[in-house]
């Protein structure tokens, strides 16, 4: 069971400023979805290693060759606000 308080907490973690209407909608919907998910509780998973990836991949390194990435000018072109070679945002700390 998930409460309105849980929803507010999760929204804060997820950086979403939900409306009151959304909070009540999600409390109801997420409760029902999580209730359905409780089917998993019936399964014995003692000693089962969690699986995070479908293929057993090992880490590989790319050969150390020079490539030409798009460059900061091109990437900055899509910024909502910028100054010189930087993304511009409101004040972060006092």
């Amino acid at each position: 069971m998930i409460t309105a308080k849980d929803v507010e907490h999760v929204a804060r973690l997820a950086r979403l400023s939900l409306t009151e209407e959304e909070k009540s909608l999600y409390t109801d919907q997420l409760s029902r979805i999580l209730d359905y998910f409780s089917a998993l509780d019936q399964i014995d998973t003692t000693g089962v290693e969690p699986m995070s990836h479908p293929v057993s991949a090992t880490n590989v390194l790319r050969s150390d060759t020079v490539v030409n990435p798009p460059g900061h000018e091109k990437m900055l072109k899509t910024a909502p606000d910028k100054e010189d070679a930087f993304f511009r945002v409101p004040k972060i700390s006092d």
Partner: protein, 509 residues
């Protein structure tokens, strides 16, 4: 000359090689068809006309010089709009990307263009590929070309509608829990999710990284196989793209030659002795009777051609639904953290501080289902709930994978319906997320296990007022993509002949 619309890859290639038609003419014919008809179907978010014309010119020049123009020369393609095409908008079906222009090509786009394909446009999708009906979008909802009051299926609705309408010969989608296979089934075309890692995800906007895979839509198994052959390959830009299968040789190497050996004459021979398991877990009363009848028909045809068909239960396969919606949403909550209004996309007006900037940009930019999934995933990962949800889901994911491994010791391929129903009415399921999630019950196990899945039309349902296509799903073990393609190709030859032409396509042929 007859219409260029609705032609297969082989037919267009012959016309090009015999100089009966130019790539430029193919591009214009398809662009005209889109402009005349897509206002009712909404397959495209943006057309890439200039790019298509440039690509067509390059193909025509190569042909004139007698050079090989590539495996997909002059073949029109629609690309799902969560895959980057350089210098064109990338929306992911979301408001949060604002007027974002992709700075580079996805690896698959690069491969398609090198092979001579003509990119006609960016096709619509559920926002960030989250959905089963393609109704989760801030843009017009695409329509099923068989009945425009119905959904095309999601999340890759746009490329599916494009292929089923004849706007393009092939389409490129992404499949995280069925997002290629479900719309292929609803639209009466072939769709395939390859083995995880066979196709690079570089340039695909990540939804759930351990599940996402890019794959083709086409109107025949052979065309899907030709397209997949162009898409696959190791990529240094995607750490999860597979290297090993491409380095092995001889008997060790998996069969990755999907096109050779697809010969119509001896195709049915492939079915002789083929061990086919029909997934009993998906034959319950929740499946529409007519879909069950179509599956029975396929079983009989397989048996008549010497296949060994048996029902099989895959343990824990039904728990794939909760496992998927925990794993996928958890990964999504992390992947979508990058959309914060700082480096790209839409930013909320004059926020007082950085946290307000994040919160308000995300609140205004994301749609309802995306927020719901971010909330669900954040909850499953949050302190106090991690073990009960995320860890538990990952453990059951392993049980499902192992269960498939055991099943594929006894069977070459598995057969099941794609979805419990045919295409449903627009608006029918939007108010109940859980009912919508149930559409994916048969498709999402393949993503959890990383195995390939292919959907093939197998009949036409007449249960509703208008005829609607029914798709069957085939699954095979990891890297057995060729087995899947050969089985589907053989089935295509031996199933009762049917053209699977939607009314929008038929009117243009």
């Amino acid at each position: 000359m007859s219409s260029l619309i609705g032609k297969r890859i082989g037919e267009l290639k012959t016309l090009l090689q015999e100089k009966q038609v130019s790539a430029a003419e193919i591009a214009e014919a398809h662009l005209d068809h889109i402009k005349n008809n897509d206002s009712q179907t909404h397959a495209f978010l943006n057309l890439t006309e200039e790019l298509a014309r440039k690509q067509a010119l390059a193909v025509d020049q190569k042909l004139a010089r007698g050079e090989d123009p590539g495996a997909l020369a002059g073949i029109p393609v629609a690309i799902k709009d969560n895959i980057s095409v350089a210098e064109y908008p990338l929306t992911c079906g979301s408001k949060i990307l604002g007027d974002f222009i992709a700075p580079y090509n996805a690896t698959v786009a690069e491969k398609l263009f090198t092979a001579g394909a003509l990119c006609l446009g960016k096709a619509t999708l559920d926002e960030f590929a989250m959905g089963s009906s393609n109704e989760n979008t801030s843009f017009p909802v695409p329509r099923n070309p068989w009945d425009i009051d119905r959904v095309p299926g999601g999340s890759s609705g746009g490329p599916a509608v494009s292929v089923a309408s004849g706007y393009s010969a092939i389409g490129i989608g992404s499949d995280t829990g069925g997002s290629i296979r479900l719309p292929a089934s609803f639209c009466g075309i072939v769709g395939m999710k390859p083995t995880y890692g066979l196709v690079s995800r570089f340039g695909l906007t990540a939804y759930a990284s351990s599940l996402d895979q890019i794959g083709p839509f086409a109107r025949s198994v052979e065309d899907a196989a030709i397209t997949l052959s162009v898409l696959l390959g190791e990529d240094g830009k995607d750490a999860t793209s597979l290297r090993a299968p491409f380095e092995k040789s001889g008997e060790q190497a998996p069969d990755l030659d999907f096109v050779q050996g697809l010969k119509k004459d001896n195709a049915p021979d492939y079915l002789k002795g083929l061990r086919v398991g029909v997934i009993a877990d998906f034959l319950s009363d929740a499946i529409s009777p007519e879909i069950k009848a179509q599956i029975d028909k396929v079983r009989k045809v397989l048996g008549d051609h010497g296949a060994i068909v048996e029902e099989v239960t895959v343990s824990h396969i039904k728990e794939a639904l909760p496992v998927y919606y925990i794993v996928a949403t958890a990964e999504a909550s992390a992947n979508l953290a990058r959309f914060d209004g700082v480096r790209y996309g839409a930013r909320a007006d004059s926020p007082s501080d950085i946290t307000t900037l994040y919160n308000r940009s995300r609140e205004a930019g994301f749609g309802d289902e995306v927020k719901r999934r971010i909330m669900l995933g954040t909850y499953a990962l949050s302190s106090g709930y991690y073990d009960a949800y995320y860890k538990k889901a990952q453990q059951v994911r392993r049980l499902i994978k192992e269960s498939f491994d055991r099943t594929f010791e006894r069977f070459d391929v598995l057969l099941s319906p794609t979805s419990p129903s045919t295409a449903f009415k627009i608006g029918e399921k939007v108010d109940d997320p859980l009912t919508m999630y149930l559409c994916d019950i048969a498709t999402l196990p393949a993503n959890l296990a990383g195995i390939p899945g292919l959907v093939l039309p197998c009949g036409i349902s007449t249960e509703e007022k208008k005829p609607l296509p029914v798709g069957l799903q085939l699954l095979a073990g990891q890297l057995k993509d060729a087995v899947l393609i050969k089985t589907a190709f053989a089935l295509e030859q031996v199933l009762p002949p049917e053209t699977y032409e939607s009314p929008v396509l038929k009117a243009a042929i």
